[in-house]
Symmetry: C2
Subunit: 106 residues, 2 copies
């Protein structure tokens, strides 16, 4: 589990992984892999790879129970993304002003 910002961003940059993550977040219970892959068109192995990427980013945890592996979301790593975003938050409302200032000057 790296948990660095690049790993997290790369994990959520893929739409399928965001879908998987979302499904796990809104699901009240943890879900075994097959039950997750049933919701998607791609193969179980494809889903497993995505799950591994998400797990590596710390966005999901997997708990083995017998022959089943239950997955559940962990939203904590998103805090790191939020922190990164916050650095630029102050610019959100005035970037365009700066832009105009620049255009006026040129």
């Amino acid at each position: 589990m790296h948990n660095n910002i690049t790993t997290i961003l790369k994990a959520i940059a893929d739409p399928t992984r965001r879908e998987i993550f979302h499904a796990l977040v809104i699901s009240a219970t943890a879900l075994p892999i097959t039950q997750i892959s049933d919701q998607f068109e791609i193969s179980r192995q494809g889903i497993t790879k995505h799950l591994k990427t998400l797990e590596n980013a710390g966005l999901i945890r997997i708990n083995t129970n017998g022959r089943e592996r239950y997955c559940y979301a962990d939203t904590h790593p998103l805090k790191e993304v939020n922190q990164w975003l916050k650095t630029y938050e102050e610019f959100w409302d005035d970037t365009l002003d700066n832009l105009n200032t620049y255009l006026d000057k040129s």
Copy 2:
């Protein structure tokens, strides 16, 4: 300029691109491409490719002036990322609780 969430996330998922973006945000003035690429080890062409990716995500704008092309950051697309994040904000503080609930049950 797509400006959809996947395009934006993929753009910021690369550490070099985040560095370029950061350099442009904190720079008071717009910077021509050569001046940007001077700050990095990779070739100017490599930088140009990254700039194109950032521009495509709407994170930078490029203004041609004579033989120079001035780049400046636009943080607005980050709002979209922030909105995506917000969906999960409510879970940030209690994901671990849910996790524990699950573990207790099993």
